[in-house]
């Protein structure tokens, strides 16, 4: 009988880890990415350049190498997450999990930053000029005029980034977190003869998850769209 169907509880637990990694790293990367984007377009030239260099460096590093920094190199210089060890039901949030979340967040936030920056650049110059002309202060210009339009333009690239993150969570499996890839590899090792079924089942779950995220993104985009 199929090894996946016999161990459905393990599969569910694996995808719970996947979703937790996705949601936690997703939210953190949006926060950090927005912060980076604010510095990236802000008025302080030093910070603008520093963030530009930082983003270029991280974006051109493979995620695997970022995770090597957090899981393999980090502990050598005291960068471990040993203080984190929370067990909720079957799910264990330990230092492995935290290190992978940190790596995924650092990597993804640079892409979020670039997406938001592209969104801000997509706002026509006249919009900000008109806002200033009617006397809005900087905060007002940003809050009332520029940012709402920038977020709207940034939804498609941000959705792509989050979907990439969902797929990238599989790398955590290579570093000891028991998520979907880890489980799929385990099953394939146990029952090499059923590798095709195992692969198809896990792949289809990912396809469904990706479709859900892109559906939500489409809805958000439609809601944010205004008549022009």
């Amino acid at each position: 009988m199929n090894v996946v169907l016999d161990n459905l509880d393990l599969v569910v637990r694996a995808f719970t880890y996947t979703l937790l990694l996705f949601v936690i790293a997703g939210v953190l990367s949006l926060v950090l990415g927005t912060f980076l984007a604010a510095l990236r377009v802000g008025p302080i030239a030093v910070l603008r350049r520093a963030v530009a260099v930082y983003v270029t460096l991280i974006r051109n590093t493979p995620l695997l190498v970022v995770l090597i920094f957090f899981r393999i190199a980090g502990p050598k210089v005291g960068l471990n997450f040993n203080f984190i060890d929370v067990v909720v039901g079957d799910i264990r949030f330990n230092n492995l999990f935290a290190a992978c979340v940190a790596g995924l967040t650092i990597y993804t936030s640079t892409f979020v930053c670039e997406g938001l920056r592209a969104g801000i650049n997509a706002v026509p110059l006249g919009q900000a000029e008109a806002a200033r002309a009617i006397g809005l202060p900087f905060g007002g210009v940003m809050r009332e005029v520029v940012l709402p339009q920038a977020f709207r333009a940034a939804i498609p690239p941000l959705a792509s980034v989050q979907i990439a993150l969902l797929k990238n969570t599989t790398l955590a499996g290579a570093f000891g977190v028991g998520e979907a890839f880890y489980r799929m590899k385990g099953f394939t090792n146990e029952a090499p003869g059923e590798r095709a079924e195992i692969f198809l089942i896990f792949a289809l779950v990912f396809v469904v998850l990706v479709e859900i995220v892109s559906f939500v993104a489409n809805r958000l985009e439609r809601r944010a769209r205004v008549a022009t």
């Binding site: 008025p43 603008r48 695997l64 190498v65 090597i68 920056r117 900000a128 790398l171 290579a174 095709a196």
Partner: protein, 284 residues
Amino acid sequence: MSAPSVLFDAPGPRTVARHRLYSVVALVALVAVLGFVVWRLYDRGQLTYEKWEVFVTPAYIEALFVDGLLVTLQMAVSAVLLAVVFGVVFGVGKLSDHWFIRWPCWLVVEFFRAVPVLLLMIFVFFTIGIDREGAPYWSVVIALMLYNGAVLAEVFRAGIQAVPAGQAEAAYAIGMRKSQVMNVILLPQGVKIMLPAIISQMVVALKDTSLGYVVAAPGLTAVGKLIWNGEQNQVPTAIVLAALYILTNLVLTALAALAQKKLVGEKKPLEVSMVGDLDAGRNA
């Protein structure tokens, strides 16, 4: 166009003074952060000569470049070349007039774009046979071919559709057949538009070759692992690995920008809006 001009007025004297203060504070903070990192590395004995010795030893440098970078580049190039073939077949297939060609092509492209490369890699690895010679190498190449091919299929479709409609109409008017229009008129013009996107995809493929780590594939990461297992110098090795990847990617990005300028001009790079693209926004 620099971003600030959209957002701020030209600052007045008081704002300039304030910004100067902020700049100094920011600079001090940045130096402090960098200083802390360096101090921490020094404090934990990561900056000693022994830890870095291997990276000035010719034999190790040769291993890094020949067994590491060269193999990684080789995997990335062969994956992208195969992906181009895959992409042409399925990208053109998605534009077919026949639903029984269009739908399967659509299905294949959507499937391989949504499935994580690691799952593909393990599946291909076990399908080739885990103890077959060269299995790790080929599982990386094939998995990357499937994923990047699916992404490129979208690029090709968009590129072909970006050719002005009059071109195809004119070709039909002088009596060309459908395949002729595609091969003689649309594809050659499309490729010109697509080349920068293809080179950019090289960057993605190059970064993804590191995923071969999970099937013990050769390449830069594998050489790095050998070095840090032997020398116990994880931190320096990780830094060197990252530096090599970053440099290679920057060269490729510059190439893509050059190709963009030479072939397409100042127009915006081809945008494939969708989801699942690991590298969305790179060209933005």
